[in-house]
């Protein structure tokens, strides 16, 4: 039974003040982002109203700033490694949760989700102690291991949600027709999960690029971008930070756009961030 919107609106409360509330929440959410972008063009520094002396100088400064670009490169390497690790272990983990029974399964599931819900400092410190006790030197590798581990949860949840929608008879048919498990996985299971996997990869990549709480404790000699920014913020702020952040924001927007085009084109429409939060809140 489908209700008309009008009937529904008449039977629920708050139609007068809710739009204003919604508009102010959006204002609140976007105020810092708009400020960030506007002041990246502000000649006289961060802050000061009205913005004046519009200029591209900060972008020019940014493009010749080697330390920033080295840290961007480091972050990209870490993010790629994190995607590989978390998909490499997260996809089998999702398959295992879907179709295998083993002792400690419930605990395993909770443990995998824990790094996303626990404050990052706890996961960061715990890994720091592991690397210390194992005598492993801190470097970009330890950061990548940290990100990869903390984000397995993202891959597992997304792929698990995809598996729930998967029609298992396709895999059965493939096995019956003589394909082995690996061939079935490669040619039947994986293509069906394509969208979930790409969505998970995008999300893991972005989360890793932005991660700071875990990296903060696992940092060696080389900075990732957030840590480079952090170091500069403590020394004083210039619109150069606004400039690099605006550029990354635009890139993220493109990533979201590509993702939505793919999502619209497919029949199953996974909702990446939403599914993740929902499964976190359902516990088991």
């Amino acid at each position: 039974m489908e209700l008309s919107l009008r009937t529904l609106q008449n039977s629920v409360t708050g139609s007068r003040w809710l739009p204003w509330h919604a508009a102010s929440v959006f204002g609140f959410l976007y105020l810092p982002i708009v400020t960030l972008i506007v002041y990246s063009f502000n000649g006289s520094g961060v802050g000061g109203f009205p913005p004046r002396d519009l200029t591209l100088a900060w972008y020019r400064l940014l493009f010749s700033d080697e330390a920033i670009w080295t840290s961007v490169l480091n972050s990209l390497l870490v993010a790629i490694a994190a995607v590989i690790i978390s998909l490499g272990f997260g996809i089998p983990a999702a398959l295992a949760l879907d179709r295998a029974n083993f002792p400690g399964k419930a605990l395993f599931r909770r443990l995998v989700l824990l790094p996303l819900i626990l404050p990052g400092i706890i996961t960061g410190l715990s890994l720091l102690m592991l690397f210390r006790e194992a005598d492993i030197k801190l470097s970009l590798v330890t950061i990548a291991l940290g990100h990869g581990t903390a984000l397995i949860s993202v891959a597992t949840t997304e792929v698990f949600a995809g598996l729930q929608k998967l029609d298992r008879s396709q895999e059965e048919a493939s096995l019956d027709l003589g394909a082995n498990y690996w061939q079935t996985f490669r040619h039947v299971t994986l293509p069906n999960l394509r969208l979930s996997i790409i969505g998970a990869a995008l999300l893991i990549f972005t989360l890793s690029m932005d991660e700071i709480a875990v990296s903060f404790f696992l940092i060696g000699r080389d900075n990732t971008l957030p840590l480079e920014i952090w170091g500069r913020l403590r020394r004083g702020i210039t619109p150069e930070i606004n400039a690099i952040s605006s550029i990354i924001f635009v890139f993220s927007l493109f990533a979201i756009l590509i993702w939505y085009r793919m999502r619209v084109a497919s029949e199953v429409q996974p909702e990446i961030a939403g599914e993740l939060l929902e499964s976190l809140s359902q516990g088991d």
Binding site: G48, T149, L233, S281
Partner: protein, 282 residues
């Protein structure tokens, strides 16, 4: 349908990885909290309760923990006050613009946490956007100095960051409410507010519990926003842990505080899960 070997192949590698890189580290945190630091600044692997005694003995630790919980509680309340009506508006009033609005809530999540905290700093500072704007329109003569380097700035920034986290599960729970229930309530003569209070709100409690937990737990452990915007009065418990792991070099005490925080968080998650189960109609 799946053979033993297949099941072993999909189970063992992730299981092993998670044990080595999650279970053992969390267990190490627990162990560290019972170890000690020698006068020569090295970690002694002997078991003692001293760290926990220290934690209870020195006032500043518990005080800071309670202050952090108070900051987190305010962030939770404000995120719910912003997130719930927004989710309700999207779910019941927004009509065809629902999807667009949903994306508008999610997009800020793609902007770096650090960068958004920094943007607030540039807005709230004494030469910041807000103060210069207020002086520009002659509302104030001098910069308002309570805006930055205060618990207010921390609560504001964390509310900004965690409102989408509170919104998403609430929105999901509202979307799951069968619409005929709402219509039935209307047809049976309930005025709109009663429909909300007796039908919609109880069914959305699982979402509220989840959203509230996210906002509280994630802001409780934050240490970057307080460092950037909090000033001396906005210091939170994780800042103490950071200094114990840094200059103060007392890892075992830092581990003891972290472990208490972890127990607190897991207990909260457990409670919120119970609450969600109790009110869940699925």
């Amino acid at each position: 349908m799946f053979s033993r070997a297949y099941r072993a192949a999909i189970t063992l590698p992730p299981l092993l990885w998670v044990v080595v890189f999650l279970l053992i580290p969390y267990a190490l945190l627990f162990c560290f909290s019972f170890w000690a630091v020698s006068p020569a600044q090295s970690i002694v692997h002997s078991w003692t309760l001293d760290n926990y005694r220290e934690l209870l003995r020195v006032n500043v630790y518990l005080q800071t923990l309670f202050r952090s919980m108070w900051i987190a509680a305010r962030v939770m309340i404000f995120s719910l006050l912003l997130g719930y009506p927004l989710a309700y508006y999207l779910s019941f009033h927004a009509g065809s613009r629902k999807d667009l609005f949903y994306q508008l809530v999610v997009i800020p999540l793609w902007v770096s946490y650090l960068v958004r905290a920094y943007a607030w700093k540039s807005i709230l500072g004494s030469d910041g956007v807000l103060n210069t704007l207020l002086q520009y329109v002659h509302l104030t003569q001098h910069p308002l100095d309570f805006l930055l380097y205060s618990p207010f700035a921390v609560v504001l920034t964390l509310t900004h960051i965690y409102t989408p986290f509170a919104f998403l599960p609430i929105y999901a729970s509202l979307e799951h409410i069968p619409r005929p229930l709402v219509e039935a309530s209307h047809d049976l003569g309930a005025p709109p507010f009663q429909t909300f209070w007796r039908v919609i709100f109880p069914l959305s409690i699982p979402g509220v519990a989840a959203g509230a937990t996210f906002a509280f737990v994630l802001s409780l452990g934050d240490f970057l926003a307080p460092l950037l915007l909090g000033g001396p009065s906005g210091i939170m418990i994780s800042n103490i842990v950071v200094s114990l792991f840094g200059a103060a070099y007392n890892w075992p005490l830092g581990a003891a505080i972290s472990f208490c925080m972890m127990v607190l968080v897991v207990a909260l998650l457990f409670m919120s899960e119970r609450l969600e189960k109790k009110w869940s109609f699925r």
